[in-house]
């Protein structure tokens, strides 16, 4: 491998890594902030969408149509395109500071698309709860919303924790896409350092920082699942 030395020099330069690491860590704080404020919004909106879609009352038909359209449209367009459209488009209508910040609207775009994906995960969970559970709850006189809240949702959420965490890991990475409309988060900072050093090592540093978050997050999910299985002792084949 005659070119390995050159690759090593431009991607794995220890000195460049230690030089840029503090900048990268500092910029990563913004990634964490975006992740931290979009995640709860996504989860709440997604649960509401999934519940709306699982309603059965004929009178709520328009609501179901609306949320189906929402999830289809949000999932049908690449995330990056939504970030451009919403991130540049909405401030473009002439909002005052601080409401014209691409950071805010980029996060909103991210939240909108992810809530549609996560809603589908919740919906799959809701539908996986056997109809007999609903029958049992309704037979006790619980209303359909009480049945959803106490019987269906708790079981659905437990079942979708792994795919949900999968989406969260994915979101944690896609936060970097917001950099494309301006905010200096870790990916953009790595780009800046790359240009300054004429060396790609800052990107490797950024990758290491992402891994430091996403791997523990995945292990934590596994731990949660094991604990849940031990507690309820589900030895049955489902």
């Amino acid at each position: 491998m005659p070119r390995w030395d050159r690759v090593k020099k431009s991607f794995f330069d220890w000195e460049r890594l230690t030089d840029s690491f503090p900048h990268l860590l500092h910029a990563f704080v913004l990634d964490i902030k975006i992740f931290a404020w979009t995640t709860p919004c996504i989860l709440i909106v997604a649960v509401l969408i999934a519940i709306a879609r699982s309603t059965r009352a004929p009178a709520l038909f328009p609501v179901r149509i609306f949320v189906i359209a929402y999830t289809d449209i949000m999932r049908g367009v690449p995330v990056i395109l939504w970030i451009y459209l919403v991130g540049f488009g909405v401030p473009g209508i002439g909002l005052e500071r601080p409401w014209n910040s691409p950071l805010i609207w980029g996060s909103v775009a991210l939240g909108m698309t992810y809530s549609a994906y996560v809603a589908e995960v919740f919906r799959a969970g809701i539908e996986s709860v056997h109809e007999s559970q609903r029958a049992a709850a309704r037979s006790l006189g619980l209303s359909s919303s009480q049945t959803m809240r106490h019987v269906i949702l708790p079981q659905a959420i437990r079942r979708v924790v792994p795919p949900l965490m999968n989406d969260m890991v994915s979101l944690q990475k896609d936060v970097a896409l917001v950099s494309l409309i301006g905010p200096i988060e870790i990916l953009r900072q790595a780009g800046i350092d790359k240009a300054k050093f004429a060396n790609f090592t800052p990107f490797v540093g950024a990758a290491l920082i992402f891994l430091a978050i996403t791997i523990p997050l995945t292990r934590f999910t596994d731990w949660l699942l094991t604990r849940e299985r031990d507690r309820t002792g589900a030895s049955k084949v489902r």
């Binding site: 007999s132 559970q133 029958a135 049992a136 709850a137 309704r138 037979s139 006790l140 006189g141 619980l142 209303s143 009480q146 106490h150 019987v151 708790p154 079981q155 437990r158 507690r231 309820t232 002792g233 589900a234 030895s235 049955k236």
Partner: protein
């Protein structure tokens, strides 16, 4: 005696399959009535219609002379008065045994947590389940789960209890403990409707037995009459098959 439950010409189809054609019968307060018949004869569907889990296509059901199948009626207050126990138990797997029993008490009746817990403790003690009160359903045997399901339905103090083939999913050695609970309920004033394949038990416990065939009541009467002197040829044929299968002494 007064009629607790009156069924007038009940009909119910699922697609092209007409499960109930024309069922009319009256059940007295405190009476124990068993519904027998081949699989698919409509026993389960009939019980689910009475609990309003299914809507009838035709006919009406009266509880204490009030029509409960009227269009637009809120089913929830009625379901509190008519409990149901399912073949597959249908306990809530994410809740402790205690919470399974108290859920409807706190959420539907608005009882305080303490009062609900007390009700659950005494009911579960009555059925020999005190030790399991903090366990989760998956840790219990089938017989124990079904007894919890009965306790859960009884917690609301229903006037009518529907038992839908409650021993069909159990291992043979666990059937007895569940039937003992049902024996205990008889005579407590509650009206019991059973869909069952346990012919010996139906004969022993029932005030009346109703044989369903092809979506109608083929024959209904005292257990002795149905089991020893069936008049309808369909009943005779059914019982012969049951005896041949060793499920009833001839």
């Amino acid at each position: 005696m007064n009629a607790k439950l009156t069924l007038n010409s009940i009909a119910k189809s699922f697609g092209d399959n007409q499960v109930l054609r024309d069922i009319s019968l009256t059940i007295e307060t405190g009476e124990v009535v068993s519904f027998i018949g081949a699989s698919g004869s409509g026993k389960t569907t009939l019980l689910r219609c009475i609990n309003l889990l299914e809507t009838v296509d035709n006919g009406s059901i009266l509880l204490d002379n009030t029509e409960i199948t009227a269009v637009g009626l809120d089913p929830n207050p009625i379901r509190r008065r008519i409990g149901i126990v399912f073949q597959s138990f249908n306990l809530f797997p994410h809740m402790s045994i205690r919470r399974n029993v108290t859920l409807a008490l706190t959420e539907v009746l608005g009882m305080s947590v303490d009062a609900a817990n007390e009700t659950a403790s005494s009911l579960l003690a009555r059925f020999g389940l005190s030790e399991k009160i903090d366990s989760y359903p998956d840790r219990l045997s089938g017989g124990q789960q079904q007894r919890v399901a009965i306790a859960r339905a009884l917690a609301l103090n229903p006037e009518v209890l529907l038992l839908d083939e409650i021993t069909s999913a159990l291992d043979p050695e666990l059937v007895g403990e569940v039937l003992d609970v049902v024996r205990e309920l008889k005579g407590s004033g509650i009206t019991l409707l059973l869909a069952t394949h346990e012919m010996g038990f139906a004969r022993e416990i029932s005030d009346r037995v109703c044989f369903l065939a092809e979506g109608v009541v083929a024959e209904m009467g005292q257990p002795e009459q149905i089991f020893s002197h069936p008049s309808d040829p369909r009943t005779q044929q059914f019982l012969q098959r049951v005896i041949a299968a060793g499920r009833l002494r001839g």
